[in-house]
Symmetry: C2
Subunit: 322 residues, 2 copies
Amino acid sequence: MDARPVMRWHPLRGEWVMYAAHRLGRTFLPPPEYNPLAPTSDPEHPTELPRGKYDIAVFANRFPSLTLTAPQPEPGPAGTRAGVGACEVVVFSQSAQGRLADLSDEQMALLIAVWADRTTRLAEGGTVRSVLAFENRGVEVGVTLHHPHGQLYAYDHVPPVQARMLEQAQRYHTEQGRPWLGDFVAEERAGGERVVLDGGLALSVVPPFARYTYETWVVPARPAARLSDLSADEQASLARVLKDALNRLDGLFGGRMPYLMTVHQAPLDGEYPEFPLHIELYPYLRAPGRMKYLAGTEQGAGEFANDKFPEVAARELKEVVL
Amino acid sequence: MDARPVMRWHPLRGEWVMYAAHRLGRTFLPPPEYNPLAPTSDPEHPTELPRGKYDIAVFANRFPSLTLTAPQPEPGPAGTRAGVGACEVVVFSQSAQGRLADLSDEQMALLIAVWADRTTRLAEGGTVRSVLAFENRGVEVGVTLHHPHGQLYAYDHVPPVQARMLEQAQRYHTEQGRPWLGDFVAEERAGGERVVLDGGLALSVVPPFARYTYETWVVPARPAARLSDLSADEQASLARVLKDALNRLDGLFGGRMPYLMTVHQAPLDGEYPEFPLHIELYPYLRAPGRMKYLAGTEQGAGEFANDKFPEVAARELKEVVL
């Protein structure tokens, strides 16, 4: 396959745009008899994964927006360069039907460890400066393969969101002399009304500045910059709280909540102890059957309008019967 | 109605989030016999608009995310304040069925003049520092009223997107000694492959850094910072090119293309001649029946992945038979 991803610089937004013309032909809701994320059963028709038993599998995306071997592109407009980075697929389970939240506590903790390990390994060559793990779930939001899976994007630069978070957290640390994440956890625990579950070493919170109605953050209780900074116990607690948060989203309206999950870790080209490691869940429904769409103010100005106060959303999530 | 919008500061993204709890009950796809954007025909059951004939109507949004009279909110988390600003509805026509592109050239030019006028007037009190005009079209993206209309959001601060554009354009101007927009127009005209229509005083272009597949920018040929900086002839040309661009989007796949249109103007608390006035059209289909969703990299990192090079998209748009 001809993977020649290209990046171009957006001069007014000050961000890279990735072009991967080969992606338009990617697999789109294949019939159940062909599941590229299932283990191979017939060697004549191999999937992306070998035969055998495994809990979690990671492989290079066949339709990458970025690759470590991206060739120099043909001459183009100013600000054109090779799309250098990596895109990987993380298959959460051998089961094609389940949900991420169906993983056992141990499997969920293994996923955290896999994300941590892939982040470290992707950074080893020195090219990758930031890794984003995410899961986009739901046909409502364009998911093309139903087998539970997520993705990893590895960038050769620090993308705008992570750059902004780092800058803001560093400023806070300079001004307050303490990490932002520690103060956030202390304040949320003190108030309590937005804490959905306090698991001891990790907790879930609807942040006071939630952009999505039921936005939930899963954070370690002890400030850390990357998943690999956490102890095994902390990773296990983060996993349990994450599983609880996902189950509450599905329980809220009694169906599968479409969502985006993103895992935010510090850039990889240095030590950034100020960066607040955390997981963000963006549930796309703001009420039963009502999707949140990003319209004028969100996309045109960069500011979200939210119909419900985080305190109310947190109360509803806490009341979900699991 | 209890309009008490509130803003809270997102400490990691460094942006405001608007809360308007009264919005959840807003009108959602009402039956055709009740159209709040039609002129009142039965005084016993008034709509938002009076009887009589008019081309374009503007009124205050009944479900605002921001108001100029927002009261001080009850004490809340750090970074809570009143949601000060304004939200207005712009009804494009008396016809409930048409599209924006169905407006005559004169009506379309009038719309440009209305946007310019509202921007100036909203700024008069000194509170409003930025105005965003936009249209979100298509049930696919959550439009709740079908009568052709757009909105105006007036902010008491400069939102992140406009702040970033200004900063980038000012830097360009300092480094190059010329406005960014003038160089952009000159380069696109010289290359030609991404220009969809050159109307003389205005042109439409798929920018070399398009984030959406068929993203189209409508720009004045002479750099300007606000719509009110344009002459009547320039506004008329911008209107004709905008109408052409909208018609091409609908013609592309032979249906109504869902899209977001945003009008970017300089902040209002001073003169910013470096700011590049322009209109951005984000068509949400990347292929027939295939929506573009903002997934992990777009929302979690702030960088778009696009399946098609702008040069190819521009060629397809140019080939649309109108």
